[in-house]
């Protein structure tokens, strides 16, 4: 492979949610809003106004560009906090803790960028859940790093080849805004269908 494109951090989260959805969004350029995506966007609009501030002993920077040349990642951080010389990423999410496990991946990817940008190792990050107003600690473990790196490689491959992953019906389809485009059950339904004679 020559000249690999930088991949958006957001694509990792989508890929972990559903590789077919990731293909639709980042290869086929399809995106449709639904109530969940709109809630998420307005939440980020609030967060994504570049700025910095102090909160007690903590220095906060909002909405800055993150980049990693090593992993070919590009994206934006919702919030970076610096405390006692340590910095960690905070990702804002609608919904509640533990709905899907793909959010941790995104925090880990942000940490990888930050490590490269600051030259310091980062072992923690947070997810802030808007519904419960709670921060959840994400430990940037070796295991999580490996899983993030594997996902980065998978997304790179997907964007490079454009090969469409099969659409598979799962519980996640219920909240997916691309369901009407994807129709994951159509293959089975077409197979079973008997046209009237």
């Amino acid at each position: 492979m020559n000249e690999i494109e930088y991949i958006p951090i957001a694509a990792l989260n989508q890929y972990a949610y559903c590789s077919h959805r990731c293909w639709r969004m980042f290869c086929a350029g399809e995106f449709v809003d639904n109530q969940y995506t709109i809630e998420g966007t307005t939440l980020h609009d609030r967060v994504h106004t570049v700025g910095e501030g102090q909160r007690e002993e903590t220095w906060q920077i909002r909405a800055i560009w993150l980049k990693s040349d090593k992993y070919k990642l590009i994206g934006k951080a919702d919030l970076i906090e610096l405390e006692n010389g340590e910095c960690y990423p905070i990702e804002y999410k609608r919904g509640r803790k533990g709905e899907w496990d793909n959010d941790e991946l995104q925090v880990c990817a942000q940490a990888l960028c930050l490590e490269e940008m600051t030259g310091k190792s980062i072992n923690t990050g947070y997810i802030y859940y808007a519904h419960s107003h709670q921060r959840q600690l994400v430990e940037i473990s070796e295991e999580l790093r490996q899983s993030a790196i594997a996902t980065i490689e998978a997304v790179q491959m997907l964007l490079f080849t454009g090969a469409m992953p099969k659409a598979i019906k799962t519980k996640r389809c219920d909240g997916c805004s691309l369901y009407p485009q994807c129709l994951p059950q159509s293959a089975d339904k077409v197979k079973r269908y008997q046209e009237a004679a």
Binding site: A28, G29, M164, K166, S186, V190, Y193, E195
Partner: protein, 334 residues
């Protein structure tokens, strides 16, 4: 959710906040939230404000211009979707490929089976007419479709089936004031043909909209590929819907006496027949109602409107061409 038809000559189409507002003679004649609109069709002459054009483009709502008699002029819509995979599959199947043959079989079978359905239902309703000969002719055109692997021969079967159906179309009209002898186009010179032509023109707008949404190139078809510059794929996908939507509306309009001969005007010299402005309003309303009527989609097994079915069939066609499904099931209703 639906298409807004504006047939008022010299109307002004503007936007107020999040609503489309149509004025005539300084009075508001229509006011609809933009969120409920899937398409805007202007018949004849109207003024469209620049704000409306950018708003419709922003929301990916196509704006179509037809002449006052429903002849298609053109449309304004955002660039084709970024989904090049659909178009790639569409072009790869062009010509006499196995996929092209399969989908053409589907388009022709869908149309002829829906024709037959109209005839058998009419036959059941009344014992005083005999359609059995035409139904048999239709059966004879349907039977060999799946074993015919040549697109020109399939066109022949489609022609034979359509000839049988229109050969008895007059017997489907239960209104002494209207007669039909044979299909006439460009221009239609009798009321029934003018209604059919007008209806097919509206249907084409709807199906082309669905095809664009899914990401197809509307100009590359499989059954209709004999002439360049025609939206061939829209014409292909229209086939199965012609009897289901347009013929059904035309027949129920005539049979329920919702239009009278006074609703039509004849042009001097050419003899071209078209609807009066009032008649056009009536027919547009009936067509829009038909599109919103619900039925159970035989493949997806859920309720849907014809308006939704246009897009659903276009998606099923895309899925077949992209190898996600093993066949293209045309919409055939019992």
């Amino acid at each position: 959710m639906g298409t807004v038809y504006i047939s008022q000559e010299d109307a002004f189409i503007g936007k107020i906040d999040e609503r489309l507002s149509v004025k005539f003679d300084k009075k508001i004649i229509l006011d609809v939230p933009l969120i409920k609109i899937e398409g805007v069709v202007v018949l004849g002459r109207a003024t469209v404000s620049p704000a409306v054009i950018s708003e419709l483009l922003e929301r990916s709502i196509p704006l179509t211009f037809l002449t006052e008699n429903g002849r298609y002029l053109g449309r304004i819509e955002p660039e084709v979707t970024k989904n090049i995979f659909v178009r790639k599959a569409q072009w790869q199947a062009a010509g006499e490929s196995p996929q092209a043959i399969h989908v053409v079989q589907g388009f022709v079978r869908g149309k002829l089976k829906n024709y037959r359905q109209i005839l058998t239902r009419r036959q059941r309703e009344s014992s005083d007419i005999d359609l059995s000969k035409k139904i048999t002719q239709l059966e004879q055109a349907i039977a060999p479709i799946d074993t015919t692997h040549n697109i020109n021969s399939l066109r022949g079967l489609e022609g034979a089936g359509s000839a049988a159906y229109f050969g008895c179309f007059n017997q489907l009209i239960r209104n002494a004031e209207f007669q039909f002898s044979h299909r006439l186009r460009r221009p239609p010179t009798d009321p029934v043909n003018s209604l059919l032509s007008f209806g097919y023109s509206l249907l084409r707008h709807d199906v082309q909209g669905a095809i664009n949404i899914v990401g197809f190139d509307p100009y590359l078809g499989y059954l209709h590929c004999d002439r360049y510059g025609r939206p061939s794929l829209a014409l292909d996908l229209m086939e199965e819907f012609r009897p289901l939507v347009v013929d059904a509306v035309v027949l129920s309009t005539l049979n329920k006496q919702l239009l009278t001969p006074a609703d039509f005007i004849t042009e001097p010299l050419s003899g071209a027949v078209s609807l009066t402005p009032e008649g056009r309003k009536t027919f547009l309303r009936l067509y829009a109602q038909k599109k919103q009527s619900e039925f159970k989609h035989p493949v997806m097994g859920r309720k849907c409107t014809y308006q939704e079915a246009f897009e659903l069939q276009a998606r099923l066609l895309a899925k077949y061409l992209m190898g996600e499904t093993e066949k293209y099931p045309p919409l055939v209703l019992k």
